[in-house]
């Protein structure tokens, strides 16, 4: 019979409310830029419900920040896949931050909205959230090189669009 084993060191995650309070603004900033204003709330709730589902099995309290952005990135990409499969009428999807947004912001939203999803998600992580390429690669499940390429190609297109 096996003898008693030393229990692995476990860092239990904090109460979910604290986790949500600590990460909600960052996740929302990412999602609103990555999927657009009308769908940000849905993606936000899907992200945190998915997190809640996996939360009791989570053990390492230190990686929560990367973990939640990985989920959010997946939800943003899922969202774009869904929209691509089943496009809604254009008029129901005004991708602007708010009614009456500055013309400069309208141009920006339109240009960002035309980026391929992986480029858009990478650009937003890099320049809205100031994440490193290594972090972006981790969040999106690719190489650091791939993250760099997505950001650069995305920025190139944005500059071509709006100068």
């Amino acid at each position: 019979m096996a003898g008693p084993r030393a229990a692995p060191v476990k860092v239990a995650p904090p109460p979910f409310q604290q986790f949500l309070d600590a990460h909600r603004v960052k996740v929302y900033r990412f999602l609103v830029a990555a999927v657009g204003s009308p769908d940000a709330d849905d993606c936000f709730q899907e992200t945190f419900l998915a997190a809640l589902r996996a939360y009791p099995r989570l053990r390492d309290g230190e990686l929560l920040d990367r973990w939640i952005l990985r989920i959010a990135s997946r939800k943003a990409l899922d969202h774009h896949r869904r929209v691509a499969r089943d496009p809604r009428p254009v008029e129901s999807l005004p991708e602007v931050s708010a009614p009456g947004a500055e013309p400069a912001d309208r141009a920006l939203w339109e240009a960002v909205g035309e980026l391929p999803p992986r480029q858009r998600v990478a650009v937003v992580q890099r320049y809205v959230l100031d994440r490193s390429y290594a972090e972006i690669a981790q969040a999106m499940g690719g190489s650091e090189q791939g993250a760099r390429a997505n950001v650069h190609q995305g920025m190139k297109k944005l500059r071509e669009r709006i100068g």
């Binding site: 109460p15 979910f16 929302y28 609103v32 830029a33 945190f48 809640l52 912001d105 920006l108 937003v124």
Partner: protein, 202 residues
């Protein structure tokens, strides 16, 4: 275009994320993903934090305990799936408010006893049978649980009562009628007993 202009895309996220986050608890509860809902009740003995599980009320904390610490402990001992929710704690909030308004003398909603362990189970079960407006001594509770010499153990078990007010440990007093030993402080014990019209004389 400069890269930092992209930050404008996330304008308003502070406020909008707060709104989206507030709706999360009800959604999570409806989907069976929330184990503990936390609410707050104003009372004459200070603001109370209450925690409700699917089984019932599991914790009442006075405001001299930091809410974060209360939640930390619930997270370790029961589940970290904890969110604030006015809606899921509404029923207990109402019963407690009615109690403090003097319109309720017993609580009807279920209680979750998972934080009550060992000898504390018997002690708190006996304490719950002390009716509104009445008192019992530590020694009497000890007798009622069949351990007549364990008055001190009774005191310790009551001091660690996770659901004060609802499990009325304030109704248990010293042998000579003295209002000794209340985890929430003697002032609160006096206030609760006087609300119930049960202040012993002398």
């Amino acid at each position: 275009m400069r890269a930092k202009e992209l930050k404008r895309l996330s304008a308003g996220a502070e406020e909008r994320s707060a709104r989206a986050a507030a709706g999360l608890a009800d959604l999570a509860w409806a989907n069976g993903l929330l184990d503990i809902a936390v609410g707050s009740v104003g009372s004459p003995v200070g603001r109370l934090t209450i925690a409700v599980t699917r089984r019932g009320l599991v914790r009442v904390a006075y405001d001299d305990e930091a809410v974060d610490e209360v939640l930390d402990r619930l997270g370790r001992e029961l589940s970290p799936r904890i969110l604030e929710s006015a809606r899921e704690t509404e029923g207990w909030r109402r019963e407690l408010e009615e109690f403090f308004e003097g319109r309720r003398t017993r609580f009807d909603l279920p209680v979750d006893r998972r934080l009550i362990r060992g000898v504390q189970r018997d002690v708190l079960a006996a304490t719950r049978r002390v009716p509104y407006g009445r008192v019992a001594t530590y020694g009497e509770i000890a007798v009622r649980i069949g351990r007549p010499r364990a008055a001190r153990a009774v005191g310790r078990a009551l001091g660690a009562n996770p659901i004060p007010i609802v499990i009325p440990c304030h109704r248990v007093i010293g042998a000579n009628g003295k209002l000794i030993g209340y985890a929430g402080g003697i002032d609160r014990k006096v206030a609760l007993l006087s609300l119930e019209g049960a202040l012993p004389t002398g």
